[in-house]
Symmetry: C2
Subunit: 259 residues, 2 copies
C-alpha cells in the first residue's frame, strides 16, 4: 500500500460515532506508527482535508471535502437528483425514504427524506453505515452484486443487530434470489427492531449496482396495501434515478412487474 493510500485510509476512520479523533486514537485504530500518522495527518491538514480543533487537538474532517463534493455533484448529480426523487418517494408512500451507496465494503446512507404524513416515522442520519445482511438496501445491492463480493460479505462476520437479524448465509442467499427475481429486497426488523424496509438497487454506467433506494416504515403500519404501493413506487423511483445519473440496468433486471 502506497503512502497516499495510507493517508486516505486514515480518513475512513471517521464515521458517525467518531467525528473527531485524537492522534493517539488514530494511531491505535490504524495500527500505524504514531510518527507516521502525525506526518500523514499534517499533510491532510495542509490540504484542508482535516482540521484540528479545540484544546485536545483532535482531528476532524475539513472543509475541502465540501468543495470536492460540490464538484462531484456537478459531474454526476447523484445527491441532487436523489433528493428530488426521495422527496416524491416519501410523499407517495407516506414513509421515510433514503438513498445509500456502496464504497469499498461499506454501505453508506447519503441522504434521506421524511414524510410529514405520520407522527411516528423511521428516523435516519446521513453518512450512517448500514449492514449488508440486515437492511433492505444491503440486500438489494447484494442481489445484483458480483458473486465474489457476495461471498465475501456472507463469509465475513454477520453482526446481530436485533433478534430478527438473519445471519444464516443460506437463508440470506435465498432472500437474494428472491430479490433478484423481484427487483426489490426487504428486511423485516433486521437492522432496527420494528422497522420494515424495502429497497431497490441503483445501477451505474457499467450496469453494476452502486447502491440502493429504500423506504423504511414502522412494522405496525405495514399492510399488504402499503407494501404493494411501496414496491411499485420504489421500483419506478430506482429506475428513474439510475437513468438520470447515466446508469443502465443489467439485462436480467426485472423491468416489467406491476407490484
Amino acid at each position: 500500500m502506497g503512502t497516499v493510500s495510507k493517508a486516505l485510509s486514515l480518513l475512513s476512520l471517521f464515521n458517525h460515532g467518531r467525528l473527531e479523533i485524537g492522534l493517539s486514537d488514530i494511531t491505535r485504530l490504524s495500527g500505524m506508527n504514531k510518527a507516521t500518522v502525525y506526518r500523514l495527518m499534517s499533510e491532510l491538514q495542509a490540504q484542508g482535508f482535516v482540521e484540528q480543533i479545540g484544546n485536545d487537538r483532535a482531528y476532524r474532517l475539513g472543509p475541502e471535502v465540501l468543495r470536492l463534493a460540490a464538484l462531484r455533484e456537478a459531474t454526476v448529480p447523484l445527491l441532487s437528483v436523489s433528493q428530488d426523487i426521495l422527496r416524491y418517494l416519501c410523499e407517495s408512500t407516506g414513509e421515510t425514504a433514503h438513498m445509500s451507496i456502496v464504497q469499498g465494503r461499506q454501505l453508506n446512507t447519503l441522504t434521506h427524506a421524511y414524510s410529514p404524513q405520520h407522527g411516528t416515522r423511521v428516523t435516519m442520519d446521513d453518512a450512517e453505515i448500514l449492514s449488508f445482511h440486515g437492511t433492505g438496501s444491503g440486500l438489494a445491492f447484494l442481489s445484483f452484486a458480483e458473486d465474489g463480493f457476495v461471498d465475501d460479505i456472507l463469509a465475513g462476520p454477520l453482526a446481530v443487530h436485533t433478534p430478527q437479524t438473519q445471519t444464516d448465509p443460506q437463508k440470506l442467499r435465498a432472500a437474494l434470489a428472491q430479490a433478484r427475481a423481484l427487483g426489490i429486497a426487504e428486511s423485516i426488523g433486521g437492522f432496527e427492531a420494528d422497522v420494515h424496509s424495502h429497497a431497490a438497487p441503483i445501477f451505474g454506467p457499467d450496469q453494476r449496482p452502486i447502491g440502493a433506494l429504500a423506504v423504511a416504515a414502522p412494522m405496525s403500519r405495514m399492510t399488504v396495501d402499503l407494501k404493494s404501493r411501496i414496491r411499485r413506487e420504489l421500483k419506478a423511483a430506482a429506475l428513474d434515478l439510475t437513468q438520470r445519473i447515466g446508469g443502465f440496468c443489467p439485462p436480467d433486471y426485472p423491468q416489467e412487474q406491476a407490484a
Copy 2:
C-alpha cells in the same frame, strides 16, 4: 511537498470548467512526471476519490468525497445551516443569495438559493470559483483576513472580469477599510457586468473569517431601499450562521449597526 500533498493537489485541478481530465492533461497541468501522476491517480482511484469513465479513460471525482462531505456536515453543519439561512435570506430580499468559503487561496461558492419573486435573477453555480477583488464575498472575506493574506492577494495578478472590475490595490484597500467599518462589503459589476453584490463575512471558532454570505441583485433593481434591506438582513444572517456553526466574530467586528 510530500507525496500525499502531491496526490491531493491533483484533486484541486478539477473545477467547473474541467470536470473530467485525461492523464496527459493532468500531467501537463500539474507539471509532474507522467508515471508519477499515473501512480498517484491510481491510488486516488483505489480509494474512490476519483474514478475513470468512458472510452477516453478520463478521470473525474469519485463517490468517496460524498461520504466524507456528509460526515463533515455531521461534524459542522455548514451546508445545511447555510441552506436554511440562504432560503430565508433570498425570500426576505427577493434576490439571489449564496455562501462561499475560502480554501487555500481560492474562494469557492458552496451553495445558493434563488428567490422566485422576480423573473430575472442573478444565476449561480455551486463550486464556482470567485475572485477576491471582484466580488462582494471576496472583499468581505479580505476585510477581516490576516494582513499577509490580503497583501498576497493584492500583490498577485488581479483579473479584469468586466470594465467595472477594480484592480487598483490602493482603491481596493480603501474599499476594505470601509467594509471593515460597516461589516458589509459590496461590488458593483466587478465580477459580472450588471450584478451588484453585497456580502458579509462568516467567522470560525478562532474568530478568523472562513468565507462569506452574499446577496446578488441585478444593478437595475438596486434602489436605496433594497440596499438597506439587504444590508440589514445580510448582517443578521451572517451573524446567525457564524454562531450556528460554533464560530465567533472578532472583537472589532461592527456588531451594532442598524443598516
